[in-house]
Amino acid sequence: MMKINNIILETSIKVLLFIIVLYSVYIFTAGHYYPGGGFIGGLMTAGALVLLLITYDIKTVAKILPFNYRILTAIGLLFAIGTSAGSILFNVPFLTHAFTHVDVPILGELSLHTATLFDLGVYFVVVGVTMTIIQTIGEDE
């Protein structure tokens, strides 16, 4: 069988992939003030990876991004439980968050919030779970 040459798809993915990932990171970081957050950001990143899977095959993608997504899920859960349980060290109830405003030279005033770390956990879990589901179904014969 002759291999179908999908050069247009492969070229356009190289441009699109970065735009999608960038947008998903934007959505993730904007979650506190605008619609967005860890869930939708993670889903969008997973969407970008799925686009990669459609263009190439599972083995090639595993070579480009050698992640074990199950471990990524575990790391995400660890982030969530870590930021929640960290509050116990400061003698306040579980899940109490702290925030502060910091002046960074170029970026200006930034508000840093530990809820972002929790959200990062959500982000990792969503990416990990989505990719695990898709890869497991894809590899299944």
Partner: protein, 470 residues
């Protein structure tokens, strides 16, 4: 191996912490924690009153013993595919559901528990497991959707999700009896938790689904999952919907009695060891909920006592049935006989567990049932109290049938029985039966804990004041 060591350490730690928690609640009253420092009705509150504290302790104990049993019973293939992580997620769900003080958080913990139970049910992938998981999944997804609908109705009426605050708001609008819509919501909650907890017309999924998984998983399910449904019915009915008892409590009482009747019919009808014990779960749920529906201090104390007893003894019985099935390779009673000559330890442990289940005096089943019957008689509900008494006889008959046909008679030899590590497998059920016997003999020393739990259930103001601090 690393998985086993970690699991044992975390289980022992949970056991110790939950025991300390019981002592703390005993000495210092109801413990509340406002998660993330938001005050009571606005954030999620975790509430540990005596009822939930002893349930969490019992859960931890049963979980630890099921874990020990799993080491030799579950097999390497399942262990490799995340058996222990999912096992612990199930415990997260159960302990969370017992401790939460927020109705929507209760839903979330129900889902944590149910999703883990789906995985545990299907893990291994044999044909029967696949078939029964589909049924179990369908039923529980429908009941979860109903749960969300019920919470939505309740939220639109009272405008809050904190359980203590809901209770306070309901008493505000119920000065002249509960409004009709709240009765509807009460019945909706009964349907939702009734499906989870397998009461009379809603238990149809249980005999099949519980037949499928391996013994330690079955013991966890039988001892914990349905009891979370019972706990939720008890909590919502004693905390929210106690203002107009004519309709809701009567309905609960009728359904509880019918569960007892349906359960004993199933228990005496089958010649299958697992099925008999599964139907006995339905009987026990009926007895406990009957005690709740009578709603006087004696009956409630009896219900709490019987609930703890039943968790211990059901776990023990399912683990023992697991040993029997492992030895004989079948759960058909007609193909089993004469086990007692070669397995006396197994035989006598089963005998004591059976007597305890039926409620023979020095053992733990007796005190709870006695209090429930006393409470029923004091509440002038003689038919119910009589049926609960009668059911003991048939429950005894159903488990003695296993003992007489399975353990007496001609000694048989079974294929592959030498490979079964009977001594190791017997450790957990023996400990459970000893605990249950102690729970019965030393009921005097346990009663302060139980009655403290019942006190909160009969007087919701204690709960509300502890949470809202007014």
């Amino acid at each position: 191996m690393a998985q086993r060591v970690t699991a044992v350490f975390s289980s022992i730690a949970t056991l110790i912490v939950s025991f300390l928690n019981v002592q703390k609640v005993k000495n210092a009253g109801i413990q509340t924690l406002n998660i993330s420092s938001w005050d009571a009705p606005f954030g999620i509150t975790l509430v540990s009153d005596m009822f939930s504290a002893i349930l969490v302790f019992t859960t931890s104990l049963i979980a630890f013993l099921c874990l020990l049993y799993s080491f030799k019973a579950i097999g390497e293939a399942r262990e490799k595919y995340y058996y222990y992580p999912v096992f612990h997620f199930l415990l997260v769900g159960v302990n969370g559901a017992f401790t939460t003080g927020d109705i929507f958080n209760l839903f979330v913990f129900f889902e944590v528990m149910l999703m883990s139970s789906y995985v545990l049910l299907v893990l291994g992938g044999t044909k029967i497991q696949l078939r029964e998981s589909i049924k179990y999944l369908l039923v529980n997804i429908i009941s979860s959707a109903l749960f969300v609908i019920a919470v939505a109705y309740l939220y639109s009426v009272v405008g809050t999700l904190n359980m203590a605050h809901i209770s306070a708001r309901i008493s505000e609008v119920s000065t002249n009896g509960m409004p009709g819509i709240l009765t509807v919501i009460a019945v909706l909650f009964l349907i939702v938790f009734g499906i989870k907890g397998a009461i009379f017309p809603l238990y149809f999924w249980m005999p099949g689904s519980y037949y499928a998984p391996p013994a330690p998983v079955l013991a966890l399910f039988g001892a914990l999952l349905t009891k979370v449904g019972v706990y939720s019915i008890t909590r919502t009915y004693t905390l929210f919907f106690y203002h107009d008892r004519d309709f809701t409590f009567q309905l609960l009482s009728i359904l509880a009695i019918l569960s007892v009747v349906a359960g004993v019919i199933g228990a005496i009808a089958y010649w299958d060891v697992k099925k008999i014990i599964i139907y006995n779960i339905i009987v026990a749920i009926g007895v406990i909920l009957y005690g709740v529906s009578v709603m006087n201090p004696t009956a409630i104390t009896g219900s709490v006592y019987y609930l703890i007893h039943d968790m211990l003894i059901k776990a023990a019985l399912f683990l023992l049935v697991g040993v029997i099935v492992a030895i004989t390779g079948t759960s058909n009673l007609k193909q089993i006989s004469g086990l007692i000559t070669r397995y006396p330890g197994l035989g006598w442990t089963f005998f004591i567990a059976a007597l305890s289940l039926a409620g023979i005096p020095p053992l733990s089943g007796f005190v709870g049932k006695l209090l429930i019957v006393q409470g029923g008689a004091a509440g002038e509900s003689y038919i119910g109290a009589g049926l609960v008494l009668m059911s003991s006889l048939l429950v005894l008959f159903s488990v003695m049938k296993i003992f007489i046909h399975g353990f007496w008679g001609q000694t048989r030899f079974y294929k592959g029985e030498d490979k079964v590590p009977v001594k190791w497998l017997l450790i957990s059920p023996v400990i459970l039966v000893v605990m249950s016997a102690l729970f019965g003999v030393g009921s005097e020393s346990f009663l302060p804990y139980i009655s403290q739990a019942a006190e909160t259930l009969t007087d919701p103001r204690i709960y509300i004041e502890a949470v809202l601090k007014e």
